[in-house]
């Protein structure tokens, strides 16, 4: 009886702050909020929308969502213009009142239905970080052509060989962190873009934090516009070398 009561108390003590950086995600932010509420019933959470001055009216939609769901659960913490992903997380972190922080994309490539599995994995293992991986059985990607898969796989093999990171998906950005761990790791990261995501998880791994993975599926709906050009590849290689030498 005492054991049951303890785990129930633990459940009620945990609060999950979900940081969603947005830019022109007028429709997707509403869908994401609906899906989060649908899949996280009986969980104490808040959604922190960090909008970088979207011209399409994303913030108006968030205000409508606040009317529908309550202002305690949906926080709008905007910024005047596009200022980068890393700083968006830091900005959201300042307003987070949970003891756990989830970061996820706003374009529905990350489906909120995986949030319970993140939470469950963390509870079972006591991990400091739970990261979603697209590259294991049970996970997957949809919407990538052969070239995209090839570059992804090649990049992954190169990173694994050079960095020995201990996770299978380095550039993924669907993650659950203990708040204190995120604060610690983010303060030492300086990269931009997806290299930033890599730097976060590699630095966390180097610092010895307990990292677990859960399979997630990734549906890329932005056909064609997430092209990987020569400059992205160069940036990636530069990022790898930087991480090789400084972590």
């Amino acid at each position: 009886m005492v054991l049951i009561r303890n785990s129930m108390e633990e459940k009620e003590e945990n609060k999950y702050s979900i940081i969603v950086p947005t830019y022109n995600e007028r429709l997707n932010i509403a869908l994401i909020v609906y899906l989060i509420f649908k899949h996280l019933q009986n969980v104490n959470f808040e959604i922190i929308v960090v909008d970088d001055g979207s011209p399409d009216g994303t913030q108006e939609i968030v205000k409508q969502l606040q009317q529908a769901y309550g202002e305690a659960c949906i926080l709008l913490r905007p910024r005047p213009k596009k200022l980068g992903l890393g700083t968006a997380y830091m900005h959201g972190l300042k307003h987070a009142t949970g003891n756990f922080v989830v970061i996820m994309d706003a374009d529905l490539s990350h489906h909120p239905k995986y949030l319970p599995s993140f939470i469950k994995k963390q509870r079972e293992t006591g991990a400091s970080i739970v990261t979603g991986t697209r590259y294991v059985k049970g996970g997957g990607v949809h919407g990538w052509n052969l070239m995209r898969k090839l570059t992804s796989r090649g990049a992954n093999v190169l990173a694994q060989t050079l960095l020995w990171p201990g996770v299978s998906d380095l550039t993924g950005s669907f993650r659950l962190y203990k708040k204190s761990v995120l604060e610690d790791v983010i303060s030492s990261c300086v990269s931009k873009g997806y290299v930033f995501q890599m730097e976060m998880i590699v630095r966390a791994s180097r610092k010895g934090y307990h990292i677990e993975e859960v399979p997630i599926t990734f549906v890329d709906r932005v056909y064609g516009s997430s092209k990987l050009g020569g400059s992205e590849i160069v940036e990636y290689l530069k990022g790898l070398v930087y991480l090789l030498v400084t972590t």
Binding site: L27, A30, E60, Q64, H111, G140, L150, L162, W164, T217
Partner: protein, 89 residues
């Protein structure tokens, strides 16, 4: 210990092993000189193999796209009722 230190230590150990092979002539010298080349080539082949295998076994999830469309329809229906503007952008 920084990662680069670990890698350097590994390379130094391999080099020391290679030099000792040269000194003690366990293998014919011409063969020993080629060992680093063999090592790099096999590393490259291993890498290509991993990429190829990974590409073949790349997990895909076409059904997820369909499920997502259903979720979107469900969400739109609910949100319209709650006064949230879900017209397409």
């Amino acid at each position: 210990m920084k990662h680069i230190v670990k890698i350097t230590a590994l390379l130094v150990a391999l080099s020391a092993f290679w030099i000792s092979l040269l000194q003690t002539s366990v293998l014919p010298e011409t063969q020993t000189w080629l060992l680093p080349l063999y090592f790099i080539v096999s590393l490259g082949c291993y890498g290509l193999l991993m990429v190829g295998v990974g590409l073949m076994l790349f997990p895909t999830c076409p059904h997820e796209a369909i499920l997502l469309q259903e979720d979107i329809a469900e969400a739109k229906g609910f949100l319209k009722g709650k006064g949230v503007d879900v017209g397409s952008d």
